[in-house]
Symmetry: C2
DNA sequence: CCTACCGATCGGTAGG
DNA sequence: CCTACCGATCGGTAGG
């Protein structure tokens, strides 16, 4: 593709996005300068602006690309009908793998959403909600009794906490790699979930 | 106490710290302006600078105060000798309670550490490591067989993930409050931890 | 002399 | 694709 565009235009855009994601993840969106992005890409600042309209376009593109990949992954797992516990393992391992593949983009997605303008933020949070819903559906398939409680979503979010937090403390040279973590997380969560107590007489909301 | 200082000086400093923590948590350290901090405190900017040397002093003070409270809490629980599982419940519920009490400071501690200068960052990460160590000690007291594996610290960090991530999704008007979450997290983790599989023939590092 | 503050403006640097 | 800049806004401080 690229009639009218130099060969390598799209590749260059992807490279820029990856470098920008790394810088945004390390220093934060608002503390990263476009000079730093340009330098990391081996480009002059005007050259950088040839590929992306402005700094904000980089942020939106990183978040959009990543959250869409995650959503596709979740829909794919749910489409393959399987036992709930097997689906949960597939979801957890798939998500950990996706994050390992794009850990900088993932940290940007989780920590820099606050810099998105309302419209973009809403669109991306919508996709995040779809991802969480997919997980929550499997959680309540494993523990149908939780449907009568307000615990389904909180338990699902605890699972996301384990996974999302991994990328703040794991080091690539650590003893365990991402491929070890997926099963460990699934194990811990599934074993815990099976036995979580349902509080009796959980307060019904008055309205 | 205030020989030479006006009455209310220390109270004013605490108020400023709380307001700054809220702004830093919402907008990020580097995107928050000293004008915004001053305005949130009902002070002029020069008045604000009367209480804190500069913007950076606010960040260090927020992080230091909060991490020290957490460390004190953990040491206190460990000092009261009790059964490991009871200690774990006390740690989790204590930590969740501390976070609920200072959720803005907590988000600053977890998300804005990157803006600390190397010396300050090291001192604070040291305290964080002490906190994690306290938890890890109880984890291996519950599952002594994990001492022979590299899983003790990762499992502990999964627990921190559940707790730290709570503050990104819980809403004060949600169906469940922080007082409900502590027991739920402890339940999920303890039930899961008891049954986490130890992979056989875990790779020994060659050096 | 002190503190607690205000209106105005400084030197530097950001995105573009 | 570069040097050279701009409009604006930042953190921090002067005099009073």
């Amino acid at each position: 593709m690229g009639r009218g565009r130099a060969a390598g235009y799209d590749e260059q855009r992807e490279t820029i996005l990856a470098r920008a994601a790394e810088l945004f993840a390390q220093r934060g969106y608002s503390a990263t300068t476009m000079n730093q992005v340009a330098e990391a890409c081996g480009l002059s600042k005007p050259a950088l602006y040839h590929y992306y309209k402005d700094k904000y376009a980089l942020l939106v593109s990183i978040a959009d690309t990543h959250v869409s990949r995650l959503e596709t992954l979740v829909q794919g797992v749910l489409a393959r009908k399987a036992a709930p516990r097997a689906q949960m393992r597939a979801l957890v391992e798939g998500l950990v793998g996706e994050y390992a593949f794009a850990q900088h983009a993932h940290r940007v997605l989780t920590e820099e959403v606050k810099f998105l303008e309302p419209g973009d933020q809403q669109r991306i949070l919508e996709k995040e909600r779809a991802i969480v819903s997919g997980f929550a559906k499997v959680v309540t398939a494993i523990r149908p009794d939780l449907l009568a409680t307000p615990m389904g979503k909180p338990l699902t979010m605890l699972l996301f906490g384990m996974i999302n937090w991994m990328f703040t403390w794991m080091r690539p040279d650590g003893e365990l790699g991402y491929e070890d973590m997926g099963p460990m997380v699934a194990d811990l969560f599934l074993n815990g979930l099976s036995r979580v107590a349902v509080p009796k007489a959980k307060k019904e909301m008055p309205h």
